[in-house]
């Protein structure tokens, strides 16, 4: 395998990148206890996006695991989870946004995952924050508690924990190291992420 992209994303910031069908995408929690938001679009048609509701419909579970597929808004398999060192992820919590910090915490202007993902996605043709789909929140710990209720607590991830996705179609992706530093979710300290895109066939463009 050849690394065709290596990114380090500072804590509380975001980035966008592309991958081709067949590429492996490693998403690494470099320092531990860092939740991240992940969204994806089909490169050939940005209106087809990675979909939490479609994935739940197919998996019939709130949790995702190694060997699961993640589905698009048109019900097509979009990613395959080929490795997962931790097995604790969420795909029920919407991205934190301007309103999350302004309304819930009285902190307008705080960095947020929606902004972190949308800004770098603009150069890939995503025109509005409203076009950013609901995220998968890797390493986020949102256990089901009694009576169908939920809670968000700090992730159990250790430095170097990772999840590896194989893209099944050409994709534009965005990630955000969640900047939540007020309530549990990242151990109150946003920290960096690593992203690697690997290919069996491509030339290295590092």
């Amino acid at each position: 395998m050849i690394d065709i992209l290596n990114l380090t994303i500072p804590g509380g910031h975001g980035a966008a990148f592309t991958a081709e069908a067949g590429n492996l995408i490693d998403i690494i929690d470099l320092e531990g206890q860092q939740a991240l938001d992940f969204v994806a679009f089909c490169s050939d048609d940005l209106e087809e996006t990675l979909s939490c509701v479609e994935t739940r419909r197919f998996l019939r579970s709130l949790y995702i695991r190694k060997d699961d597929h993640l589905y698009s808004s048109r019900g097509r398999p979009m990613f395959h989870i080929v490795q997962d060192s931790i097995g604790v992820h969420d795909y029920t919590i919407p991205a934190c946004d301007y309103s999350r910090f302004a309304v819930d915490f009285g902190c307008p202007g705080h960095r947020n995952c929606l902004h972190n993902m949308f800004e770098p996605l603009r150069v890939h043709g995503v025109k509005s924050e409203l076009d950013v789909p609901e995220p998968f929140n890797f390493f986020q710990n949102s256990p089901v508690v009694e009576d169908g209720r939920t809670a968000v607590v700090d992730p159990p991830s250790k430095p170097g924990d990772f999840i590896t996705l194989q893209a099944l179609v050409n994709v534009v992706c965005a990630v955000s190291s969640c900047p939540q530093d007020i309530i549990p979710g990242n151990g109150l300290r946003p920290s960096p992420l690593g992203i690697t895109v690997r290919s069996e066939t491509a030339q290295c463009h590092c």
């Binding site: 209106e47 087809e48 979909s51 939490c52 509701v53 479609e54 739940r56 419909r57 019939r60 579970s61 709130l62 949790y63 808004s73 048109r74 019900g75 097509r76 029920t92 919590i93 919407p94 946004d97 309103s99 999350r100 309304v103 819930d104 509005s128 409203l130 076009d131 609901e134 089901v144 508690v145 009694e146 169908g148 209720r149 939920t150 809670a151």
Partner: protein, 214 residues
């Protein structure tokens, strides 16, 4: 009756509305702040898919995802606020019998007529057309709130569908706290989430007094 404000603004609520939605169809209609929105399953075992957009801002749409996190609940419960994609309350579930369940997790695909793949996007197109017929152009067609659909959430994260939980003439009532346009569908089935040979009708009422509900 308008909401009980300390200083009433003197305005009155709009005219009341009623519509029957045939199985497989969608209707869209305005609901003003303070009005009551009632949705009744006439035959029973028919989920209702609920969508809404703020009348004054087509970027504000009802969001099941933000509604979940607003109340830390994977399902819609009596008394919960239904909020927008920017976390503003749009309405509150004020009446719902204890046996009724309401889903906040799944899409509507109408797979029984659309097939296994692609249905959610086709359904979004139907919702968009319904809003357009009412003069609204939401910037985003959000995922639905699935009234009467029971999806149990187990402690290990497994989702277990209980199908539609409604009996004939069961209804829910919401109090609107924002001027909005709603779209309500009586969708075709998506087995095995829920199954029904043919979709049944819904009765929707927008009223100004509880006593005016039929």
């Amino acid at each position: 009756m308008p909401l009980l404000m300390i200083e009433p603004d003197g305005s009155s609520l709009p005219a009341e509305l009623e519509v029957t939605i045939d199985g497989g169809q969608i209707a869209s209609l305005p609901v003003a702040k303070g009005q009551l929105l009632a949705i009744r399953d006439i035959e029973g075992r028919q989920p209702a898919a609920l969508f809404s957009v703020a009348a004054q801002n087509m970027e504000l749409v009802l969001s099941p995802h933000h509604t979940r996190v607003f109340s830390n609940s994977f399902m819609l419960r009596l008394g919960m606020r239904l909020v927008s994609n920017r976390r503003q309350p749009m309405m509150v579930l004020g009446v719902s019998a204890p046996h009724l369940k309401h889903d906040l997790l799944c899409p509507i695909t109408e797979a029984s007529v659309n097939g296994e793949v692609g249905g959610a996007d086709q359904f979004r197109d139907k919702v968009r057309r319904a809003f357009r017929a009412a003069g609204a152009e939401p910037r985003k067609i959000a995922d639905p709130i699935n009234l009467f659909l029971g999806i149990d959430v187990n402690l290990d994260g497994r989702l277990a569908s209980k199908g539609a939980t409604s009996k004939p003439n069961d209804r829910v009532v919401f109090r609107a706290v924002m001027d909005m346009i709603v779209a309500i569908a009586a969708p075709y089935a998506d087995p095995p989430l829920w199954d029904r040979h043919k979709p049944g009708p819904l009765r929707v009422e927008v009223k100004n007094e509880l006593a005016n509900l039929t």
